[in-house]
Symmetry: D2
Subunit: 379 residues, 4 copies
């Protein structure tokens, strides 16, 4: 039943593609984090549908803060976030309700919920549910930024095209993250960016879709964050990442390349750098034994091509139990990777803030309002 | 603090490499599952150190069942599993306690636990903690097997060597799984198997280590298993898999290849086969929208080279804050991938049984003892 | 951070007395439960402020179903429930924000959230947050009623007045529950009911408040429900009951009287009655070892007098650290016990449904939609 | 399936009355708490069977620390605690396995586990499972004591006999707690103590049993501890307390008396005392809105008479479904209240330490080992 996650900071999602609203409850956010609502809008913008390379369903996706923020600060009690669904076109789905789209959750939700699932637009399994993740992530990022922790992603590959990887130098990496966070389509190499947009447009025109991989980096994390075994940074992050529709693989650091190295090549030697324990390489993506070592955390997420394509497909009719042809109508994305990157950033922000609260307690994130206790020592 | 995991079936690990015992509590196992203790031993054997290609630390690893099994059946209350540590050589670690091994948890555990961690042999982060996972998994597998669900793995790649993939035909796949479950070193292609052993031996001789990838398949799962978002099969499996030491990447189905396909190539068309909804390809690894679709579940796990190598390495001295040279002594594995596969099988068994209980309730797993209620209808 | 609870059926609350909305997410409700929205309204009515014996804040408290119910049935995915706050009068609280009301959460929330709490009307600690509990409970009760499980409460004592206890005969008890569920002020003895209303009105007139105890019964529960130790029916129920503002004590069965009995008097002898194992007395309130035995579950909840009274009180000024006089303004209840009983019923419904799902699986609650799978056997 | 509990500090129990061992995993204990094993023994002694007023089953109950404590300090990873069952006499139970003892878990466990439960000595539902709770609590108490937090209990009533209540003066209360913690039978009034022992001996002689109530106090807790709703101090404590066999009621502060007071009498006025916000009375038992207010936390636990008595009882034969006579053999307690008080103290210690970690983070409990990081600033 897990539409909720987190140990000290719990996120609970609700909503369906065509329900009245979608939203999230963020529970456990420490009190006293200043929240800039314009910054939430800015993050939501990154996820918004974009021109020819996105769905024609254009939702305003304005985030309504129902609770948990008061006078510009988090109160410490649950933050209610809600987004109205306003432009549903449910009839697109009515006629095909027994014709599951290949590679989509239509058939499996049908089995899981015994025929009672909301079949319109993917129901609870719709990519729309990532909107409240972004809203929650935008708040968490503001808490992290106060501690110098930055998160950013770029499209590492799109179909057969490749961007250059993030820099291994931490100072340069900070610059690249800032640049990506300002970009509309997050690609480091400008020429590749143009090619990627062309590839997405071509797929759209062909009624087809493309996928790719996204590289994400987190800088400024203290060492010693993460829990053993099922609470490892990799376990927590991957559990969240794999909950995002279309994600089919996650690699930390140079996990894929390390499999073909000798240990003597793969191991990241420790050395002192500017009075700080560092590693000369970062094949482990900033994580040893599931716990951060103070180097940038890096991971790559694999996103399959959007399953909703306009080309004719084969399916079965769940009412008759016979093979059937499927022609999808409606409004769909020829690629979601350029919209997904901010969802990945948000996932990383929520997971890392949770682990930081677990490690250091809520007052590491935000200190008590000193002026409210002028007459006493509050510890 | 998460050394425990699971929703309806909770596994809690305890122990350190050199503590008195290691073990696990398996809580939520339905009552009435017959448990064959010899089968637990058989699974433990697969994880056991093997000749030249494993650590010289040879533990008997006999599993003591402390509770939860009575007269050969699970009682429904927590199953206590314990394994004594008998052949610790703690002095190997005493001299190097402030010299963290690169790519190992030594340094990060030091930060995480503020200097109080048990530094001997990796403490709680040791690969030894996978022994109770195998013990718990062996019980879960017995429950799954009664329902026709089989799990198996093979070494898909070792360093630069590749085995052939598991068959795409379900009947053939069942045969391959059975074959791998009987094998000492699980490789499908006999010639490759010989080469892989040679490669591990060569690495051992050189004081170095190698890693690789393991392909795992689960057959016989009903469709409709898994929960939305953070409870997706992929989220639950990956959270467990990434908790296993040395795992750095997880891919479901052909997740990596799908990133370079068009949607029209990647989507798995549905069709009726023998009166059952099936898919013509299985790029999604049996999972759509996080929920099983009735096809075999398939995933690939990336395992980095064992970080403990005998070649000289660079590190820092945590007492002085200066660069230092490290020469590891002790007993270590030149590769763990051949021992890890049963850990991956066990992880899959524990996670899938948990999800099955959540979906169908405990009595799907084991029915009440009818002879105990001869006079009444117990529902 | 626990504004959420439940094992297989999770309830998460959000909102503050003066925030935009309050609400709840009910996650894990099995798919296929028919939901009558008029019945939700009917339950909400029982909680509504009543004439002279309640707050002058009259909220419409219309429940907006944001998600999770489709075509009159639960979908199996999270149910979003929202209630708008419409008639806040925040200025009542602005002037006294540093003058905590005795016995209320004002001071402790101030400490807990470091001065950032929403101090208006009790913030997240307001009794208003019980409204979404009632909304969620109303849905759960509909699921339980289909299985013949009924829940009801009456005011057992109010201040120094006592109602007669619920009947020990199960058939009579069912009648009393039905009667209480139709009553505006739930008291079995009509004469006592009149006296109790007079006592509440007198307290209101005096600017004071009264409390009392509520007796709750659940009939029709199967035996064998509940989990060992921290999952016992008593643990789960009490954890929920004590989360309801003003609850200060919980007794199961004749727990208080049993303390002064001998074991030979207190034990409930088993005997066969109509082919069913029953007990001759029910001092244990239908629960042995934390698990239901098939007899009615009974418990008594102690509710302290509403802390917000209009008589002058002593407090401290949190800005100056000096003693201060407090004169409360605003709109408050002279008693909440008559409104609280439906909250207790709701708590019991949510907890018991959770335990039933854990015990029997979701399909015990609602069966798959058979007409959707005419061509196949879905198990 | 909940034999585990806790948010940041998780306790998991395992074992059955006649299994090989019983024990607990305490997960989330901060690193760096010095643990005096003799103190664990001292607490275990308080729970031990005592002369004529306890079971004749005399277990050594030596606690084996399997993991999580190293060089006298907690390591921060799971603490494994195990106690061997050594003097089982299973045949006492074999003949009566289908004759459930009234008011015991025999019948309900039979239903819950479908006939597969370990019926010997109450199985997992045995009072023996409180031994690992005491072991875990003894460690938590050592952590709390370093912060000046003390916990103690006394027998408030036994059958019809009453001890005087704990003092309302905090300094006197500290003295009484210390005195009770040193006492073998914890009663404040020496004359009453003698009477109570006589009453227990008389019950034992009659083959009967007695119960009573225990008053527990916690002093030294900071204000602001506890979480809203389901994480309230009352919710967390009661959930744990009701998991202890024989507990049937829990009252916080003067919860029972407040029900018959006016709000103006019941409310605890705030005032400044020695520069600290205090309350003039403490009817709320140190908790407002579920969160501590800095006053002593006080609660009363109702413990029913031990259900295992030697007088003949009525039951049913679960094999034949017919009424039957029951004559219990074996070794049972005529009262457990004098042994239970240390279990209640332990429960309180585990719950409060969990809430303190959640509120302030693990380093509030124990600071990093400064000497291990002489060269660096570790934040």
């Amino acid at each position: 039943m897990k539409s909720s996650t987190g140990q000290c900071l719990e996120l609970t999602l609700f909503g369906e593609s065509h329900s009245a609203s979608i939203g999230a409850i963020l529970n456990g956010m420490p009190a006293g984090v200043p929240v800039d609502e314009a910054e939430i809008d800015r993050q939501m913008d990154k996820r918004r549908a974009k021109g020819n390379i996105s769905t024609k369903r254009h939702e305003a996706d304005r985030v309504i803060i129902e609770s948990g923020i008061f006078n510009g600060y988090t109160t410490g009690t649950p933050i209610g976030l809600r987004i109205e669904n306003t432009v549903q076109r449910s009839k697109d789905y009515e006629e095909a309700k027994f014709l599951p789209r290949p590679s989509h959750a239509d058939y499996t939700a049908f089995l899981r919920y015994g025929g009672y699932q909301d079949y319109r637009g993917g129901g609870h399994f719709s990519g729309r549910l990532t909107a409240p993740i972004v809203a929650a992530g935008a708040i968490c990022m503001q808490a992290l930024a106060r501690r110098g922790i930055l998160i950013g992603s770029h499209i590492r590959t799109l179909h057969t095209l490749s961007d250059r990887p993030f820099s291994t130098d931490e100072a340069l990496l900070r610059g690249e993250i800032a640049q990506m966070n300002d970009a509309d389509i997050a690609v480091l190499d400008e020429a590749v960016r143009v090619q990627m947009i062309e590839r997405m447009e071509a797929a759209a025109k062909a009624g087809d879709s493309v996928g790719g991989t996204v590289e994400t980096a987190i800088v400024g994390l203290p060492g010693g964050i993460g829990e053993p075994f099922f609470g490892s940074v990799e376990s927590r992050l991957s559990a969240f990442l794999f909950s995002i529709p279309a994600v089919k693989g996650v690699i930390f650091g140079a996990g894929d390349q390390m499999c073909a190295m000798y240990g003597s090549e793969a191991n990241d030697p420790f050395y002192m750098k500017d009075g700080k324990v560092s590693t000369k390489t970062n094949h482990n993506g900033g994580i040893n034994g599931g716990i951060t070592n103070g180097m940038p955390v890096r991971f790559t997420t694999m996103i399959k091509p959007t399953p909703s394509i306009f080309l004719p497909q084969e399916t079965v009719d769940l009412q008759t139990g016979e093979d059937a042809a499927l022609q999808i109508h409606g409004r769909h994305d020829p690629a979601i990777i350029h919209r997904a990157r901010v969802v990945l950033d948000s996932a990383a922000a929520i997971v890392m803030l949770d682990l930081l609260i677990e490690r250091f307690g809520p007052e590491w994130v935000a200190e008590p309002k000193k002026e409210a206790f002028p007459w006493q020592n509050t510890d």
